[in-house]
Structure formats: structure tokens, C-alpha cells
């Protein structure tokens, strides 16, 4: 993410007239309290534009500071949705641009019985919830929901479970070391028996290498960006990225989104002729940027980005082969207002449905945690 943003800032500074972007880099190391602390310090130094925050927990931590100071947070990461701050430009994919197309592909091509494995946090909970509704409307169900504590790498039980159930498809929301460990163990297992591909929203090019190119091959990811996209803007982007960060460096979804953040920010400052956040905010709304992923723009109604969802299969070369893409940039729908699963989220009784029933039987919350 840092590299993508730095590359964007560098390119803006090459053409900027009358201003210069000066990056101030801090690494809170994933600790929410430090996000708050660093953000506060930067605000005291009159910083008014922020690029970053990978997790929703980090973003929500600094949101009050960002809103209170009328600053702008340019947020590159995909997330689970259900937020729309006037002070955040959400460049990463919203749920209708990642989990929804992936789930729809799943029920069309693999069937509606899904085995879910993921890290035990909000991204998994919400993705699984959307998936559950989509497969249920297709007459299917989640065969299992395995939730793994962060950085847990013991996957034997889950692999054994998968071998026993032989699900037609697996949906993965594991992150970091847990994901790498899972994919390696899964590869071991599939050398003995035929196993379904694993579908993810976050698996990206550098991770394919970390897992091992061969072990990570043959799985499916949904994302607006893959390094192999065949267009002139992306060719230039990949070239510049390698030039800046080494021949081995390969851009991926979060790097590209961070690059888009920096470019949108720079272009908006240029057009607004000021770095004043509210004026810049207005300027970015009218911008259409030819990004490596294709044209992007910010939706006036919710501050999220129009992006083009794509599905790709990982190859043995550690890259992705795109096999489907939306016909054009898709309007972001962070609250899934337009998702039709036959179950009307907005109907009376939701989300209070079954509340009486629940009170009577005091059903325990079903969650399998390994």
C-alpha cells in the first residue's frame, strides 16, 4: 500500500503545478491505539489528507479525528461496507463489488453448498453473512463456517474436515499467515485427492509467491485489479512500479488502490487549486481517472468508488488469469441496498426477526471457533 501511494505521489509531483505532495510516513503496526495517536500528531502538524488504514478497526479508530478536523481519509482497502463518512474517500471495493460477484459466480458454476473458512473478525463475519443470503436464495447453504484466530496456522482439523465433507467449493477469508498455511496444507491434500478450488476476495499476487506459486495455483479471486490486466495504462503502471521498487516487485489490488488514492488526491488538489479538504472533496467528485484497473470515479451519493469487479484464476507463474469482468465500472453499494436475495433486508421484521422466538429458546450463537 505504501509503495502504491508513494508511486502516485511521485507521479503527481512530476506534473504538479504550484504545489507538491510531501509524504509523511508512519507505521502504527496494526495497533488501533497507535493509529489514533499518530493521526492526532499529524493533525497537529496541519496534515489534512491521509492515505491508508488496512483494517476497518483502524479506520474507525481515526474516523472521529478525521471528521472532527474536516480532513479527508483516502481509503484504499476493500472492506465489508456499512459505512459512509463524508470525510472518507473509499477507493477499495465495496461488498457489491467483491463478495457479491464472487458469490454469484459460485452459485452459478460450483453450486450453492459452500464450505467457509476465515479469520475470526468482522471481514469474515460480514462476508459470510452476505454469502449465506446469496446461497440461500439459490437453495443452498453454508456447509460449515470455520473461524480461526488471527495468526493461527494449525490447519489439520480444517483440512481433515474438508476431506471428509468434500464440498463443491470453498470460500476463504483467512488473512496473513493463517491463509498461507491453509493454502499450503490444502495443496498437500489435493495432491492425493481431487479438491474444489478456493474462492477469495483478498488473495493477491505477492501472497501467491509467499504461499509458493505451485501450491497457490488454481484458485479464484474477485478483485478490481490484477497485475496481468491487459491495457496501456496498466502496462505503464507495472513498468513504473518495477522501476521504482525492483524487478521482482509486482503490483496488486491494494497497491493499485493506494496509487489511485494518491492520483485522485493530487489531481483534485490541482483542479481545486487548494489543499483545503472540502474544496478538494468537491473536485474529486467530478474527476474521471484512467486508472490501471480502468476508469474510476467517486460516487456522489456515498463517497465510494466505481470499480470494475473481475474474477481471475491463479496460475503456476504466480499471476492471475482474468476469466470474467463486469461490463463496466459498477456503482458502489456499501449498504447493499440494491442486493436482491429474495430476502428483503429492509422489510419490517428485519433485523428484529425471530426476536420473540429467540428470547424464548435463548439460542446460543452458533459459531465454530478452532
Amino acid at each position: 500500500m505504501l509503495n502504491g501511494a508513494l508511486l502516485g505521489i511521485r507521479q503527481i509531483n512530476e506534473v504538479a503545478a504550484g504545489f507538491r505532495l510531501e509524504p509523511l510516513i508512519v507505521d502504527p503496526g496494526g495497533d488501533p491505539a497507535r493509529y489514533y495517536q499518530f493521526c492526532e500528531t499529524m493533525l497537529q502538524r496541519q496534515v489534512r489528507h491521509f492515505i491508508g488504514c488496512y483494517t476497518s478497526a483502524a479506520r474507525r479508530e481515526i474516523l472521529p479525528l478525521i471528521e472532527g478536523s474536516s480532513s479527508l481519509l483516502w481509503h484504499p482497502a476493500r472492506y465489508e461496507g456499512f459505512e459512509s463518512s463524508d470525510n472518507v474517500i473509499y477507493v477499495g471495493a465495496a461488498p457489491n463489488q467483491h463478495v457479491v460477484p464472487l458469490a454469484q459466480h459460485m452459485v452459478t458454476h460450483f453450486g450453492a453448498e459452500v464450505y467457509c473458512v476465515g479469520s475470526d473478525y468482522i471481514w469474515t463475519w460480514e462476508s459470510n453473512r452476505v454469502l449465506r443470503e446469496i446461497v440461500a436464495s439459490a437453495g443452498g447453504r453454508l456447509l460449515a463456517e470455520r473461524l480461526v484466530p488471527f495468526s493461527d496456522t494449525a490447519m489439520e482439523l480444517i483440512i481433515a474436515d474438508i476431506l471428509r465433507l468434500r464440498p463443491p467449493v470453498i470460500f476463504n477469508t483467512l488473512v496473513g499467515m493463517s491463509a498461507y498455511s491453509f493454502f499450503r496444507a490444502y495443496d498437500q491434500a489435493r495432491q492425493r485427492v481431487n479438491l474444489a478450488p478456493v474462492l477469495s476476495c483478498s488473495l493477491c499476487e505477492p501472497e501467491l509467491r509467499l504461499i509458493g506459486k505451485q501450491a497457490a495455483a488454481g484458485h479464484i479471486t474477485c478483485s478490481p485489479y490484477f497485475a496481468t490486466l491487459d491495457n496501456a495504462t496498466n502496462s505503464a503502471f507495472v513498468r513504473d512500479y518495477k522501476e521504482a521498487f525492483g524487478a521482482d516487485a509486482i503490483p496488486f489490488a491494494d497497491a493499485e488502490a493506494s496509487y489511485v488514492c494518491a492520483m485522485l488526491l493530487g489531481r483534485a488538489i490541482q483542479n481545486a487549486r487548494t489543499e483545503n479538504a472540502s474544496v478538494v472533496h468537491k473536485a474529486v467528485m467530478t474527476d474521471r481517472f484512467d486508472a490501471p484497473q480502468g476508469e474510476v470515479r467517486i460516487d456522489l451519493t456515498n463517497n465510494h468508488c466505481f470499480v470494475t469487479p473481475r474474477l481471475a484464476r491463479s496460475t503456476e507463474e504466480g499471476t492471475f488469469e482474468v476469466f470474467w469482468q463486469a461490463s463496466g465500472p459498477v456503482k458502489p453499494d456499501p449498504f447493499l441496498v440494491w442486493l436482491d436475495t429474495g430476502k428483503d433486508l429492509a422489510s419490517p421484521g428485519w433485523p428484529g426477526r425471530e426476536i420473540q422466538d429467540r428470547a424464548m429458546r435463548a439460542a446460543p450463537h452458533l459459531r465454530v471457533v478452532n
Binding site: P32, A33, Y36, S56, A57, R60, L63, P64, E80, G81, F82, E83, I122, W125, E126, N128, R129, L345, P351, G352, I355, R358, A359, A362, A363, P364, H365, R367, V369
Partner: protein, 186 residues
């Protein structure tokens, strides 16, 4: 004037800025505060009058594990407003909620609303219980009346009067007498 002086508040929340602010506000409002990252059986021993609980990090059946302090106001501390989290929140049957970030205002309102709603809910449950018992009793009275009408050839009013007089003589309820009559004891 609603005072929360010396009320006990359990705050089930990871140790973060919001928990500190919330604890501080509660102390200012006169409450005693015990903060924990997770609910433990020992938390109930302290017998809190109100339980604040974090929705972002919550899991399992918190409401069901409260034991004999169930029915006390539960106040949800909401961070991510996502359907899955809110659904879990509803399963704990909160009486009020607070939004993160916790601010200097709002805690008092949540307490007032929480205590009010919890008391009202307890009252409803008691009232429903009473009405259900009475409705059930009506069936027994009717059965006893019918039985007496059949076996003794009485009119409905006469049968009912006999039952009521028997209850008064025996210093018990008409439902009680009716239950014995319906069971064929007399």
C-alpha cells in the same frame, strides 16, 4: 431526578480509549464500575445493576450467561454498524445502546433509557405470566362448571356460585377449587 448513585456497572469491553471514557463518565454519574475484557461467571458474583457490552468483539450467548442477574439492563456499545454485528447485538436483547466513539454526552441518556426499558420489560413479562395463568385458570373453571352442570343438573350460574362459595369457605382461589372438581375429587 434520576440518580444512579452506587449502582454497579459491569463494562465488558476490550481495554481501549472508549472503555476508559465510558468508565470515567459512569464514575462521574455516581456508579461503581468494574471493567473486564470478557464476561466471566465471577462477574455475576459482584451483582452488577447494569451491563455495558462491546458489540464489535462480542461472541457467544452473553445474555444467556448472565445467570441470576438476567433482566438487568444490558447496554450495547456499537462500533461497526454492520448487519451481522447488529444481529448479534439483538440476540443479547439490549435495553439501550451507545455508539463508538464514546463521547461526554450520551452515557446518561443510555442509562436512563436502559433502566427504564429493562424495568418495563420485566413488568411486561410479569403481566404476561399473570394473564397466561389466569387464561389457563379460566379453562379449569369452565371445565369444573360444566362437570357440575352435568353431574348435579345445575345451571351455569348456580354451578359457578357453588364453586366461588367453596373457594371462599376454603380460603383458596376459584381456580384451585375448580382444578380439584375438574379432576373429579368431589
Amino acid at each position: 431526578m434520576i440518580s444512579f448513585r452506587n449502582r454497579r456497572a459491569a463494562v465488558i469491553c476490550p481495554d481501549d480509549k472508549d472503555r476508559r471514557i465510558l468508565g470515567d463518565r459512569l464514575v462521574r454519574l455516581g456508579l461503581m464500575v468494574q471493567a473486564e475484557a470478557a464476561w466471566k461467571p465471577s462477574s455475576a458474583v459482584w451483582r452488577p445493576d447494569v451491563v455495558f457490552f462491546d458489540v464489535d468483539s462480542g461472541s457467544g450467548d452473553l445474555a444467556g450467561s448472565l445467570g441470576d442477574i438476567a433482566g438487568r439492563p444490558m447496554i450495547a456499545v456499537v462500533g461497526a454498524e454492520t448487519p451481522g454485528r447488529l444481529d448479534w447485538m439483538l440476540q443479547q436483547r439490549p435495553a439501550a445502546y451507545l455508539l463508538r466513539p464514546i463521547r461526554s454526552s450520551g452515557v446518561y441518556t443510555a442509562l436512563v433509557l436502559g433502566f427504564h426499558n429493562a424495568a418495563e420489560r420485566r413488568e411486561f413479562v410479569t403481566r404476561i405470566d399473570r394473564l397466561e395463568r389466569r387464561a389457563q385458570g379460566r379453562r379449569v373453571v369452565l371445565a369444573a362448571t360444566m362437570r357440575m352442570m352435568e353431574t348435579q343438573g345445575l345451571s351455569e350460574q348456580a354451578a359457578y356460585r357453588l364453586l366461588r362459595e367453596a373457594a371462599m369457605r376454603q380460603r383458596t382461589t376459584i381456580e384451585d377449587v375448580s382444578a380439584r372438581v375438574a379432576a373429579g375429587e368431589s
